[in-house]
Symmetry: C2
Subunit: 309 residues, 2 copies
Amino acid sequence: MRSVVALAGGVGGAKLALGFSQILDPDELTVIINTADDDEFYGLHVSPDFDTVMYTLAGVSNVETGWGLQDESFRTLGRLKQYGVDAWFNLGDLDFATHLFRTQMMGEGKTLSEACTKLAQALGVRHRLLPATDDPIRTMVETEDGIMSFQEYFVKNRCEPVVKSIGFEGSNSCRINNDAKEFLMNMDLLVFCPSNPFLSLAPILSVPGFRKIVESYPGKSVAVSPIVGGKAIKGPAAKILQELGHDVSSLGVARQYVGLCDTFIIDDQDVSMKQSIESLGMEVFVTKTIMNSNQEKKQLAEFILDISA
Amino acid sequence: MRSVVALAGGVGGAKLALGFSQILDPDELTVIINTADDDEFYGLHVSPDFDTVMYTLAGVSNVETGWGLQDESFRTLGRLKQYGVDAWFNLGDLDFATHLFRTQMMGEGKTLSEACTKLAQALGVRHRLLPATDDPIRTMVETEDGIMSFQEYFVKNRCEPVVKSIGFEGSNSCRINNDAKEFLMNMDLLVFCPSNPFLSLAPILSVPGFRKIVESYPGKSVAVSPIVGGKAIKGPAAKILQELGHDVSSLGVARQYVGLCDTFIIDDQDVSMKQSIESLGMEVFVTKTIMNSNQEKKQLAEFILDISA
């Protein structure tokens, strides 16, 4: 039996996690998910990255939008707007049930991971999905328009403000989720999903002790570039790389992972980067990394398992 | 300018309040509403009686069911059930917005009445609706099947358990809402709406000081019987009268209001009760009290204003 741990943010992480879930048994895969995008909306605790992965593995995610659920409606939100609520964060009627139940469970003393596990099980997700930490950690984006929460940056301001720096509030005091730590200590493959290195994977690594476990892990660790042909598949990764002064390329991403992983996967389009990334001390593999169909997700997961065997 | 105060529970109170609202200016009517049916569902504060009156005066209530909103859908609740929540208390998607916003405002430190006022204003309600108290008060129903909350008795158990006694948890410590008190001290007409005397009006009167204000009020006070022809128009009033050993009749209701009001209105069907009720020391008027159309609601309100002029 294998023990694969995948670190994931939202959409890119969810796609690769779905690929792995088609190959690996439930016991063989643990997806550790960013919670620094979590926030409170309309009085409810919302965990956008966790839910994207959960909904994707449950087969109910809205693949058009990249967030929320299929066949969603927005009646509750519409009425909130009628009540004068500045409802800029879209939540659908089905989605509200997730946040209501999670918030209620947490209000009754359950941890974030206990609440998330209960939701995932109810949706029929069989593979382990774990928040990186049960404690509050919040991405704060320093921009030329001021400091804002991640969702203010990402949703309310559509990633338009120029980013000067990114910090993770709570990252001094939060603790790694116990189960996540156990699986990290016993994994035989670590995967950095093609998620945003600054906004999705950095906050996971900022949880005290997390980076150290990864740095001292002696086994195979593989990262997949979320940048292909100088562009992000989805989201603001390319824009942020540029604004923070990095190369907008898979090389720019690879530099973020020096000392953290030994293997880097780039897309066929980026074959010209192979040597530069190898010079960072990584083994580099080239394959098709864009995952549109479920088959492509499975193929990339299979590729990763093959090169790690 | 008049100052009419109406004490109301849910449906019956809402109907008569709507009648008054068609005649009286916003400044002339204050509806003081029972909050002992309030409860927490799915982590949210729900105020069923307040919302029934509010939705009715806003013209958006579901008159078929007697609760909730017109054109309602139940997607959030359906998903909560899928999550394994024992979702026996029906809340629609539009209705959820009310409870979300109210709960959020209260979580931010607003009082129940401040939150309710904001909701009512947003729905375009111009007449004053006030919770009897901003503090927690909860009806507990002692039945042959044990003690249960009002909603467990009313909704979950469909009023089937035999009632032995009714108590109001919190009624020792709660305080009359300040605005409600002010309007009570300056009213020139007090109306007991045709609401359940035990479950809707008794908890209002149980708020410390409330009964005393009503008892010592020297002006006109008029009650409308919620029992017509030995039956309740809606709800368990008749069943409870019987189980608590009272006459199941407008006379049985009138006995609950001795010392509290000087005028009692019964339906044409109950004209035979007139003398018995008069012998309680009340002036009795007979009219059509069943309010189906808006016109009938207005007519009953007009009748009350006429006999009180």
